[in-house]
Symmetry: C2
Subunit: 594 residues, 2 copies
């Protein structure tokens, strides 16, 4: 049934022993990583959360220990007492490789069956197996390390905000369903029949309430929930570093948060970022990178060549410009020879998924200009395009003509795709940029109305308040995103702090006064009683940890994640519940017919 610890107490961790410990008597506890019988001795790699020590059983030292060790299998949990000696054959790959421990006493604390997955970083078992046996998967050193980096980052974030006079305040998990935004997870209320709580998509309104409460500076590392169909790096519950400050404008929030970002990258990656972090207005990001989260680790910026080709004989270009579209291009400078016709045709296929109808290109190689469209363009037009990019021998220019949205989307993805193919994306390089001056609204074709690009509490840029009703499409928001290597890691805004402006905002979104009050009544009520200027930011904590650990999969930075199907393979949640429970909640099931 497993031996008991008794009075035995751990003196060292397995990963900590060094030459300086030679001659020490130590007690180690952990899991058996590997056992070998060799030359009359038994060698065991003993593993705990800090690493591995080699322990040796020798009948000359303890026959009893040796005999027990002979029964030990992988993943047995044992405790040993022994003496540290200099290792005969040192292992330079192991921090503890200079020593080994000769065992005087061993206790088998628990046995183990043969585990269904290997406990090693390079085990290539399926994701499903990893999630089902998560407690074994988490024994792998890289997973332990990911969780520790997560812990360290959280600690650093908390220390930072504490030092800067922020107060950690917990906001409710059982909240009010949100009328705007993504789909809520709902929780039926037993005490209040036929009513539901929602799990928060973010504590946005609550943190604003805290500012109205005079809390001045708030932060929280908090779970948020979205019942959306899960894409690759999404989880139904995710973690947010949530921040809000009073009596500030954009500059104050950005400056403070740059200090945090600096500290995180310095302490966790050893990288000293140049401050201030560069800023780029939304419009420029879209124009140059086709994205509001540009990856700046490589070039290939987008350039608008509509002016050059607007009168071209090549109708594909000139007609596009004529009908309000655009012709834009990127120069993949120096890599002309990397793109075969077959390769280009694959790229064309790729950008068609973003709506492009085709991909034109111009190569400048030893033979001169090489392009399937060269026969349709005048020499002047081709020269102007080349000149526009300062293109040289060895360059290749990719051109897309379409509606602006399609052109930017296609070229934005194309520049990333070619950089990937050319292996130009350096995982150890970090490029930071604040994207600013987002549009306040975006037009929703489905609903045929303007909707808030961020949320309806975002403050317009002061100079644009006057055109809120007349030219909503031109109104810029006091909003900002921090983008690292093409990932939006955080974003925020200055909020509206005045009931009159808030009502104008709701009005611009097409809500009647009654609708606005029924949706956001408590906010509008609160706004009657003196609201300080305030704003904040929220970071996607899981994504930040992915960046810091170099993981590509969000599940590798979360202890107990869900599958794409929002289930836990470990616990088998969600599961059926009995009828009585549902009756108590005043709900019944609808059976799924399709």
């Amino acid at each position: 049934m497993g031996e008991k610890l008794g009075s035995l107490r751990r003196t060292h961790m397995c990963g900590d022993l060094r030459s300086s410990n030679i001659n020490d008597e130590v007690v180690l506890m952990g899991w058996v990583q590997k056992r070998r019988n060799l030359g009359g001795l038994i060698f065991v790699d003993l593993r705990d959360t800090t690493g591995i020590s080699q322990i040796v059983f020798d009948t000359d030292i303890s026959e009893d220990a040796f005999n027990k060790a002979d029964k030990i299998r992988n993943e047995y949990v044992i405790a040993i007492k022994g003496n540290v000696v200099e290792r005969h054959s040192k292992n330079k790959d192991l921090p503890t490789g200079d020593i080994e421990v000769f065992v005087k006493e061993v206790k088998i604390l628990d046995e183990s069956q043969t585990p269904p997955i290997y406990i090693k970083d390079d085990d290539d078992v399926s994701d499903a197996m990893r999630l089902k046996y998560r407690y074994l998967d988490l024994r792998k050193p890289f997973m332990q390390n990911n969780l520790k980096i997560r812990h360290k980052t959280a600690k650093l974030v908390r220390d930072f905000f504490d030092e800067n006079s922020f107060v950690e305040v917990e906001t409710p998990i059982l909240t009010k369903p949100t009328p705007e935004g993504a789909r809520d997870y709902l929780v039926p209320s037993r005490v209040n029949p036929n009513k539901f709580f929602a799990l928060p998509q973010s504590p946005q309104l609550m943190k604003q309430m805290l500012m109205v409460s005079g809390m001045d500076r708030y932060y929280q590392i908090v779970k948020c929930f979205r019942d959306e169909d899960l894409r690759a790096n999404r989880q139904p519950e995710f973690t947010q570093v949530d921040v809000e400050m009073s009596f500030v404008d954009i500059e104050d929030i950005i400056r403070l948060n740059e200090k945090l970002i600096y500290k995180i990258f310095k302490e966790l990656k050893g990288i000293e970022i140049d401050l201030p972090i560069k800023r780029m207005p939304y419009r420029e990001a879209m124009d140059k990178y086709g994205s509001d989260k540009p990856d700046l680790r490589f070039g290939f910026e987008i350039s608008n060549i509509s002016e050059i080709v607007k009168d071209s004989q090549f109708k594909v270009f000139s007609d596009t410009v004529d009908t309000g579209g655009e012709v834009r291009a990127i120069n993949v400078n120096g890599y002309e020879s990397e793109f075969s016709r077959k390769g280009i045709s694959k790229l064309e296929k790729y950008i068609k998924t973003y709506g492009a109808k085709g991909l034109a290109w111009i190569k400048i190689n030893e033979e001169g200009i090489n392009s399937p469209i060269s026969k349709f363009l005048s020499e002047e037009e081709i020269n102007n395009i080349i000149e526009n990019f300062n293109a040289k021998l060895g360059d290749i220019i990719f051109i897309v003509a379409d509606k602006q949205k399609v052109v930017l989307d296609s070229l934005g993805h194309l520049r990333i795709e070619v950089a990937k193919q050319l292996d130009l994306i350096d995982d150890e390089k970090f490029e930071f940029v604040w994207i600013t001056e987002f549009p306040l609204f975006e037009y929703n074709e489905e609903e045929d109305r303007y909707v808030a690009k961020h949320h309806p509490f975002t403050h317009p840029v002061d100079e644009d308040i006057d055109i809120l009703e007349t030219s909503p499409e031109k109104v810029r928001a006091k909003a900002y995103d921090i983008v690292i290597n093409g990932d939006e890691i955080g974003g925020g805004s200055i909020r509206i702090n005045n009931s009159e402006l808030q009502e104008r905002m709701f009005n611009a979104l097409g809500f009647t006064k009654e609708e606005a009050w029924s949706k956001f009544g408590f906010l509008l009520e609160a706004f009657k009683y003196g609201v300080p200027p305030h704003g904040g930011i929220a970071y996607g904590f899981d994504r930040l940890i992915m960046l810091l650990t170099g993981m590509k999969n969000i599940r590798d930075v979360i202890a107990f994640p869900k599958t794409q199907n929002a289930t836990s393979l470990l616990t088998e949640a969600p599961s059926g519940v009995n009828k009585d429970q549902l009756e108590e909640l005043n709900i019944s099931l609808i059976s799924k017919n399709d």
Copy 2:
């Protein structure tokens, strides 16, 4: 619409100005606590989260500022620039009472209607109003202070565990419904029709999984949920400091946690606790205090006088002992004169709510023995009772005879009640005790079986493992609670770390092997692969903060609490949702007929 901050930036907080700031030019921002026009000047108490500064408007300094100030009302949000001067009439009650600020420039950042509640600590508005206008209620200095102490405590707890090599790991909020324990909050899954997540009642199983994962030391400050009918100091969501360690026994956990408790009380209350904290086995606590969470700030211990009266002529006593009951008593020493017959009859009524049939008493006063039962007891019996308590002139002994449970419950509550009435409970005194050696099981009459007193993963005391099946009622658990001033602030145990023992435990609880696997299959599966000895503790964080702030109501230490009816008066959650949302979730409402 409210003036904009522009380039104006806060230089100081309102509560921070002192004589040393005299002649400084400062910018303050905050809410108008009070405005008075006096002798041609306007005086404003300006409040932010740190306190209040008096600011003065004088037409000689700025006519523009003065005119704006004349429009200012309570709770307006303003920013001022001005010079600190020595105050004419100093206010010793205010930390900033030595200075005032003469204003050169003022901006009205937002106006306010007359707030429906006063922003002052001693406002005695109803709880309902406080919760509905929570953002105003939180402006009160004592509420700001409570949230700050909560923040400081959380910070201290996090620092402590970080320093002791614990890793903060987030466990899921969307979990599997629990077959044992309190009622779950359920969350219908849209993607998995007719299946439900549950919100965790505690991360118990997940933290054990982390130990099986080799995480070694885990902590988390985490929200937990119970859909129970709410008693006075309960909330549907509450916060727990959750801790688990591997390769430890009771002693290690208690010793480490005493350091934490020491640190909390030292840094937040300035009290240095004597370590080690005293320990009391469950049986002793029940015998002496009628409770497993005894308040040790006062005496009046319970004593068993069954032996003395078992052969008494007084049948109420002797029959009780004959039929397996007990006669116990407390001596409220020195307070005989405080209890009139009317007072005693009220106490009797009070203990009847705990099942007692009556309350006997013996006074020792100037006239000698005064007791309604003296005529039924022999002189020897009375003398023996008096001797048992070393009772003296001025004492009063209260006696209850009944089944043990009723006797202990009644006298346990009686001793607290009389201490309250006698005003012997000192809010500034803190008495700590570990209650240990809890019974592993308790008999559930309703279900006619033994159930786990804590939970089914609690490790029995090693010596008692052999009698698990034969004498379950005698098996003690490796469990411990930390009790402060009669409140259980935390509790935990060593867990079973062996599948065989875990199965024996489930068996003792009356589960078939199939039931055990269907309820806790993933734990039993995990237990096949090497489980370290482990154990932990969980603190009720809200209750801890109540203790540290001296609050009697849990709602005063939570930013946005729910009512007794589990509703938010601020946001009006829970609320109705539309039919489409429910259909997506494959549920429909049952209308409540009663």
